[in-house]
């Protein structure tokens, strides 16, 4: 069985239960042959990073849990000079063998540098590299990984790869940094991207307008995308081109259409503020 993991950043409530649960599972507790004990504070096998984009008062926060991606083609294995010190189990969990790693040969920490996501930590005291084991000792007991088990917000979807991939497809998740060609087994929903957002309200009513059709067109290429405003009158376009200029067209039954030309995406999270639609004059 191969595992995969889907992380929904939009659901994360920044509670850090996952990080602390990983500490509690591993600090002072070794699970041979998979892991030696995690030191008290230095290492964060799962790390929640809060990225903040936008300008007051339109701010977007992306809380992103980062842990080992348990890659299909792990760059860390390629970087490691000791045969078998880092290996993939039959469940495709990437493990650093605490015994084999302890050779004293790696003062340059090649695996730490080799992992493009920086999720390997070198333990200066015991001279070994350490990282997330996907809680393989718990998986063998039929338990979920400790950090997933701790999450109150349903951020993690974990299971058999083919099942997870179905969800990945359905919900448009994507791996972090596909350009590394490492084949990460962790897929994310809601990673930061160049975004254009706005809030549509009635000019007279000042109330939210849901279901307005918003279309944006990139000036240069002419490529266009559209969406509908949500129950609160918000619209969001993600994965746009940084620095590009768009024109924004808003249409809604009962209102006069509105066009905003020349919206330049000068920051990563660009919010147009309140866009007021005037009532259409009755024919």
């Amino acid at each position: 069985m191969k595992y995969a993991l889907l992380i929904d950043v939009n659901r994360c409530s920044i509670c850090f239960a996952c990080e602390v649960a990983c500490k509690d599972e591993f600090v002072g507790n070794a699970y041979p042959p998979y892991s030696a004990t995690q030191p008290d504070v230095e290492q964060e096998w799962i790390k929640l990073q809060e990225f903040e984009k936008g300008k007051y008062p339109y701010v977007k926060v992306y809380p992103i849990p980062l842990l080992c991606m348990h890659c299909e083609n792990p760059p860390c294995i390629k970087a490691c000079p000791v045969p078998g010190a880092i290996y993939k189990t039959e469940d495709s969990v990437v493990i650093i063998d605490p015994k084999k790693c302890d050779t004293g040969e790696c003062s340059t920490k090649p695996c730490v540098k080799g992992c493009p996501w920086g999720v390997i930590f070198f333990n200066e005291e015991s001279n070994i590299s350490q990282k997330c084991t996907l809680c393989i000792h718990r998986l063998k007991e039929g338990q979920e990984p400790a950090c997933f088990d701790a999450c109150p917000s349903g951020v993690f979807l974990f299971g058999e790869e083919s099942e997870i991939l179905k969800e990945v497809k359905k919900r448009g998740a994507r791996p972090m940094n596909p350009e590394y060609e490492a084949g990460p087994r962790v897929y994310y929903i809601g990673l930061p991207s160049v975004t254009l957002a706005g809030h549509i309200i009635g000019e007279q009513s000042l109330m939210d307008i849901p279901d307005a059709k918003v279309a944006i067109t990139e000036k240069k290429s002419g490529s266009a995308v559209s969406c509908k405003s949500d129950i609160s009158g918000n619209f969001v376009f993600e994965n746009l081109k940084a620095g590009a200029t768009y024109s924004v067209d808003v249409q809604c039954r009962g209102y006069k259409p509105k066009t905003i030309g020349n919206v330049k995406l000068d920051i990563e999270y660009k919010h147009l503020g309140d866009l007021k639609l005037a009532k259409a004059t009755k024919k």
């Binding site: 409530s13 920044i14 239960a17 509690d24 002072g28 008062p57 109150p152």
Partner: protein
């Protein structure tokens, strides 16, 4: 003791060297049989709870090796809420938070007090040295010596000055427990002192519910629940019927965790999954806003009442309030209307008027008002936030008024806090179990009232000690208020009663969780207080200022009984978890070092003083548990032996369940609230009779009142930024401040290696002051000064600085109040002035400050 990177592993080895790996210091003397050793070596699962939620602890070799979420057995029936074509059920486990997951690290922290200690310089009989409290070293003494000192002093002080010379300061919150922890604090200690002859009560009133008890209660009652209206079945009501949820000055995702963890986090996700729109009104994009709000409306903290008034202006002028309901369910609408439309004072409370005050755009206010009136709206505002600031009672009264104008109690129109206090989920109300502050009350046979009428108020404590006499009005006697208590007059000392000479305390946390730390500490640096005794887990500020320190053990080191997260007597019949779970709280490990349970400590004093029989009524810990078991619903479901063996029991959700959404009865009956008229009193005759119509700090109808020393006052010329001091995320008040796993998550390491407490400052304010991310800054005003790490963010309104209170206080000199605090304890900046003439309560949440980049000069 400071905690450095390898202290933990060191501490673990020190603990195992000194105490052996599995028994306490006292037990060292006993021999252990091979059978007992085998038993200890076995891996065991103990089902219990922390102040951060329900957990199962894994114990091996006499040590807790980890904690996991408490599981709910597969065959236990759970609640189900059907709403808008969806079915919502909670996960089959408890949801402990970072505090719960970090508990092991906390109880094994090297800063644990492991033996009884005596302060160097303290002498029995009031003969010692007192101006070095806080600074002097402690020496280890035996339990016998400690008990001799404490009981000797109690006796001497009582005989010399009378019982009023003894006071007992309860903590902010302590470990969970019915017999120990909160239970000892609320029942065993007062009982012990009352048997001795009584004590001067140290009145806290409330510090988290300030504006609610002093404001909202006068409108709709609920005195017994600190003005939180009933919460039952509001979750289903909102999911099924509300069109919008307004979060106002509240961050439940971060703050509503105590004693249950993240039990309610799924509820807020369900709100979104049900397609209900949400909005957050707050000075910051708080955690709740990040994940649960469609929109953020930034507002200046403390000015929220102006926005509320303007919302009502829109409704009244556009006729979009529930006119019929207002006629039948309220009194005083005309007076409120006169204020809102400006008939009373010539100022219509228009959105434009409010914009100038609270800095929310008039259009935004008007738009929100119309959205609100467009359909049933849940107002998520109770307990937290703006109620602890300037005239906090006006904001809470405004909140009640808003929902009243929309028909409070109608399907989907409710006020909630969804948490520990009021619950919200479907809940079997027939189940009675002990919880928060219940203590041993239900099973005591003889009660001992306090014969001493004298009180001392936490808000005036240092004035009472240093500069008596002190007079005040209101301020209540305990956790729960009754209306008339606001009008009682008090003085300290009372004629014929002694000033306080001796302080007993349980647990730390008070000095830093209350306002004006520097002033508060000054009260302990005097020979007028001859002896301070504390029963504590850690060396922390309350411990530093004590003379005799007694090592207490944690929840994992003693047995107890409770229901998970239950409000107990404080909030009657509340259940704040997704499952009703009776816990035996079997101890996981033996007490650390020479520590003892809270009850044991007081039992040893009682033995020495010859009042053991009266205090205990012959009950051991186990006897109390058994009696509480038979006094609770749990005894109808399982035998005592089964309960004790298994460690917990999850009450199955009733097969047939009739929801009784909060206040629906009032909506239907239009009468029966605990107010003089039985209706919602938009105009309060009680307040009018006492204060008249023209009191500038409280009127019969809710009003916006300009803060005297707020951002629009002269005070702001010197200190232009509002500091917004909120409940901490990474510690429970002060508890767990020392947990390295949590410090790593938020402290900011300075160039000097010191871990600074972060302060949020807006990009705009930072640029204006030449401050960059990670800079060390000094935050100061007339009350004090501290150092913090600047976290420059767009998540906070320009003009506002945010800190969590409760960080360790590290002044240059602990005997010189006012010296620079490197720990970043935000309450060195707050004022101990009361909320208003009406509410003699803590005003902790806001005050004006200035911030500057710290370059090493004072």
């Amino acid at each position: 003791m400071s905690v450095t990177k390898n202290d933990y592993s060191k501490a673990v080895s020190v603990l195992s060297d000194v105490f052996g790996s599995f028994h306490s210091g006292d037990n060292l003397m006993k021999s252990i049989t091979p059978k007992e050793i085998k038993e200890i070596q076995k891996e065991k699962k103990i089902y219990t709870s922390t102040f951060g939620g329900g957990v199962v602890s894994t114990v091996k070799n006499g040590r807790v090796i980890k904690t996991d979420p408490l599981p709910i057995p597969e065959d236990v029936r759970q609640y189900e809420i059907k709403a808008r074509g969806k079915v919502f059920t909670p996960p089959r486990k408890c949801l402990p938070d970072m505090w719960g997951h970090g508990y092991r690290r906390w109880i094994y922290d090297p800063a644990r007090v492991r033996y009884p200690l005596k302060r160097v310089g303290w002498e029995p009989g009031g003969k010692g040295k007192y101006d070095n409290r806080g600074l002097s070293e402690f020496v280890r003494i035996s339990w016998d010596e400690a008990i001799d000192h404490v009981t000797g002093e109690l006796k001497r002080v009582k005989e010399t000055y009378g019982s009023a010379a003894i006071t007992y300061m309860d903590t902010f919150h302590t470990t969970w427990g019915t017999i120990h922890g909160m239970g000892t604090e609320y029942t065993i200690i007062p009982r012990f002192l009352n048997i001795l002859g009584g004590f001067t009560e140290y009145t806290i009133g409330t510090s988290s519910w300030v504006g609610w008890v002093s404001g909202a209660s006068f409108m709709y009652g609920f005195w017994w629940a600190n003005a939180t209206s009933e919460g039952h079945d509001t979750l289903a009501d909102s999911l099924q019927n509300s069109r919008m949820v307004v979060y106002w000055a509240i961050d439940p995702t971060k703050s509503t965790r105590m004693y249950h963890g993240h039990e309610m986090e799924p509820w807020r996700h369900w709100v979104r999954e049900a397609g209900i729109k949400t909005v957050m009104i707050s000075p910051e994009v708080n955690d709740t806003a990040v994940v649960h709000a469609d929109r953020w409306i930034p507002i200046f903290p403390g000015y929220d009442a102006a926005m509320a008034a303007a919302i009502m202006y829109v409704w009244i002028t556009e006729g979009t309030y529930d006119k019929e309901y207002v006629k039948t369910h309220t009194v005083g609408f005309e007076e409120l209307k006169d204020y809102i439309v400006g008939k009373e004072d010539g100022i219509p409370k228009t959105p434009e008027w409010a914009e100038k005050i609270c800095d929310v755009k008039a259009d935004t206010i008007t738009g929100l008002a119309r959205e609100w009136a467009a359909g049933p709206t849940t107002l998520y505002c109770q307990l937290s936030g703006a109620c602890r600031g300037w005239y906090g009672h006006e904001w809470t009264r405004m909140m009640v008024a808003l929902q009243t104008l929309q028909g409070l109690g109608k399907p989907g129109v409710n006020m909630v806090s969804w948490g520990w206090a009021s619950g919200g989920a479907p809940f079997d109300k027939s189940i009675r179990m002990p919880g928060y502050t219940t203590g041993i009350k239900p099973v005591e046979t003889k009660l001992y009232p306090n014969p001493v009428p004298q009180k001392m108020h936490a808000l005036d404590v240092s004035d009472c000690i240093l500069r008596p006499p002190v007079k005040w009005r209101g301020g209540s006697t305990g956790a729960t208020y009754w209306g008339e208590e606001f009008f009682y007059n008090y003085e300290y000392p009372m004629p014929g009663y002694s000033e306080v000479k001796m302080i007993m305390r349980l647990g730390g946390g008070q000095i830093l969780s209350y306002s004006n730390v520097n002033w508060r500490v000054s009260g302990y640096l005097t020979p007028k207080i001859e002896t301070i005794v504390i029963d504590a887990l850690f060396m922390e500020p309350c411990t530093w200022y004590a003379d005799i320190v007694l090592p207490a053990c944690s929840d994992f080191e003693r047995n107890d009984i409770s229901m998970l997260g239950c409000g107990g007597l404080y909030i009657p019949y509340s259940g704040s978890a997704n499952h009703q779970i009776a816990l035996y709280h079997k101890k996981s490990i033996e007490p650390m070092g020479q520590s003892k349970s809270d009850m044991d400590i007081y039992y040893s004093f009682a033995r020495k003083m010859g009042i053991y029989e009266q205090l205990s009524e012959g009950n051991t810990e186990e006897d109390w548990i058994k009696k509480l078991f038979y006094a609770s619903s749990i005894c109808k479901y399982v035998t005592y032996e089964e309960f004790k063996e298994k460690g917990y029991y999850v009450f199955p959700f009733p097969e047939k369940y009739e929801p009784t959404p909060a206040l629906r009865w009032f909506y239907e009956e239009a009468d029966g609230l605990c107010t003089p008229s039985g209706k919602i009193e938009l105009y309060s005759q009680v307040l009018a009779d006492f204060y008249g119509e023209k009191n500038p700090e409280i009127a019969p109808v809710p009003k916006f009142i300009e803060p005297k020393d707020g951002r629009r006052s002269d005070f702001a010329k010197k200190y232009p930024l509002t500091i917004f001091v909120t409940h901490p995320k990474f510690r429970f008040h002060t508890m767990q401040e020392n947990v390295t796993w949590l410090r790593k998550l938020h402290k900011m390491k300075g160039p000097d290696g010191h871990e600074y407490e972060p302060a949020w400052i807006s990009g705009e304010d930072a640029v204006a002051r030449g401050i960059k991310q990670g800079d060390i800054v000094q935050i100061f005003n007339d009350k004090g000064k501290l150092l913090a790490g600047a976290h420059v963010t767009e998540r906070i309104k320009p003009g506002v600085v945010r800190m969590f209170y409760g960080a360790n206080w590290l002044p240059d000199d602990r005997t010189k109040p006012g010296s620079l605090d490197r720990g970043g304890s935000a309450n060195v900046l707050t004022s101990n002035e009361p909320v208003s003439v009406h509410a003699h309560l803590h005003r902790i949440e806001h005050i004006m400050v200035e911030v500057r980049k710290w370059e090493g000069q004072n």
